[in-house]
Symmetry: C2
Subunit: 331 residues, 2 copies
DNA sequence: TTGAAAGCGCTAACAA
DNA sequence: TTGTTAGCGCTTTCAA
């Protein structure tokens, strides 16, 4: 079942069938009708692979995220898919499962599949560099949320320093004099910026931070639980725990409840991302809201700019976050 | 940068380059070396589209799920991706956003892209039928979790009746005499089976169900909240609320807390799926655990069977669920 | 073990 | 407006 079968049945050339069905070039209405009828009759679907080879474009954008178990990334993906659809493009989604090797493999695969462009949130600030650069050399590429150093590509994300300013000022307003920070390992840009922001604003606001109260693990509920246990076992309890994402914060809240530590009476806790589940915890979580839809829209816009072959210096767009205040910080 | 460039540099034919790089056909070690060197030097990546056209296979499986915001589906996707990787295949993920039209479009797109097979959790029991059948006519196709009527394809999911048996017997053990059910509209197989199972086992166990206490909306946190408001406003409160998925149950718990209804003292609540966040609510949620990894593995196995062109009558595999008991049902 | 050559299904020049 | 024709880059006969 190919375009030739349709052409024969419709008594026209294959070129005409192609033009009639794609609607790109002028074809007389009568012939279009004739071709459509023939195609319908045969149930002709078209071969996207052959078309892609000939046109050297796939109308597909690849996206690589560290995890699809994290609602922050799935939210981002949904918005990107939406934005892409308006541009008539499809999304090819890959998860790198926070593994630089798997990520490199995914990127190679996307390049081989000739996607038109790539949107990536790289796993690691340095270990991802080579693979990201290699992909960026072949294709338009935009980084979101996190970025690797040493690749000249566009980036969109949130202003992490501004986010921690919001958090720390809010905590200072609540009378917090000492704070802990729980995060993933410092292996990527946004994590680094969050830790740096935490320290900077803590110092500025006179909030004490003990070195052993900065705990680095990974972005997961389980690590939040473990960190809570560690934190509660060690010496004097700080007034607040600032978490680098909501998964960590939710694990933290659960472990606190289990340990009989009342949040917010005994301890304030904040998160980062404002995933849908942040409103459902006990107590509901105060957290930084990321402008997900805007990040997605901007990523797609940047990519389209590059796809349109418009040369421009790489943009770095840091969008302003806001703070969603809930009971985990309201005494 | 094509295979010809590599061939020229390595002083061999394009056929030899292809054979050397794919490793499929015998090539002398010296030549392989020579070709590899040339490919590396040029940074040759290969064109998957051209290869796919020639071989008429893409080593890619498409997956279509109703939502990627629902952790149940993302969990399933992760397991499928894992299982597929072992078979050297990639996953092309699409979300139908619970829209049969969008779903039909995604399916057409996957067929056009010549994926080797499709794994789908169809949106709607009847509105999805045509699109699913059309895809199944072209390609190997396996349905997971939900299925449409009237398509002869394999299916893997959970035994919904057995699941509701577990839930209802657990509730009966807890002394429940009356129960409500909150679910999505009855537009797909598993939802129907869950409602039917609820009624059947309620009757069998002598648990009273008032008609107005069966609320149908959608699988979302928000609907869980709304249903709670409706339920709490209307007449005498039942002893328990059985929810058809965890999102609904989590919304329900939140709204109960807000309304001052103490779970489990005043009301028992159960969910379905056992997503990671079900353990973090207040109180933690009693829920049906779906054997996600097994469902995914079985789906991939069934698909591989069909891909291997082994004719077999369609299988319907209903895996046994288990019950995760937490505080939302423990007085 | 290697090379020459055909052609996967489609679309874009070019010509009519 | 339509047809003819030449490939897109690759793999796979077939022949050597």
């Amino acid at each position: 079942m190919t375009i030739r079968d349709v052409a024969e049945l419709a008594q026209v050339s294959t070129a005409t069938v192609s033009r009639a069905l794609s609607g790109a070039k002028p074809v007389s209405p009568a012939v279009v009708d004739q071709v459509r009828r023939a195609a319908d009759e045969l149930g002709y679907a078209g071969n996207g692979i052959a078309s892609a080879l000939r046109r050297s474009r796939t109308d597909t954008v690849g996206m690589v995220v560290p995890s699809i178990a994290n609602p922050f990334f799935t939210g981002l993906v949904e918005h990107v898919e939406h934005a892409l659809q308006d541009a008539g493009r499809q999304l090819f989604l890959c998860s790198s499962r926070s593994d630089p090797e798997l990520e490199a493999q995914r990127l190679r695969s996307l390049v081989a599949r000739q996607v038109d462009g790539i949107i990536i949130s790289p796993v690691h600030g340095s270990l991802s560099t080579t693979a990201v650069r290699r992909a960026a050399d072949e294709l338009p590429l935009v980084q979101v949320d996190r970025y690797v150093t040493g690749v000249d590509s566009d980036w969109v994300g949130v202003d992490d320093d501004a986010a921690l300013e919001l958090v720390m000022e809010h905590l200072a307003d609540r009378g917090v004099r000492s704070a802990a920070f729980v995060s993933s390992q410092l292996t990527n840009s946004s994590t680094e910026l969050r830790v740096a922001g935490f320290h900077r604003h803590a110092e500025r606001l006179g909030i004490a931070v003990r070195e052993e109260d900065v705990l680095l693990g990974e972005y997961s509920i389980e690590w939040g639980r473990q960190a809570a246990v560690t934190l509660l076992a060690a010496g004097p309890r700080p007034d607040a725990v600032v978490c680098a994402d909501d998964l960590i914060a939710l694990g933290m809240l659960q472990a606190c409840a289990a340990a009989g530590v009342d949040v917010p009476r005994d301890l304030l806790v904040t998160g980062f991302d404002d995933i849908p589940f942040a409103a459902l915890s006990h107590p509901p979580l105060t957290t930084v809201r990321q402008p997900q839809a805007e990040i997605a829209a901007e990523a797609v816009r940047l990519l389209s700019r590059v796809l349109g072959a418009q040369e421009a210096p790489p943009s770095r767009v840091a969008l302003r976050p806001s703070l969603t205040v809930r009971s985990s910080t309201s005494r």
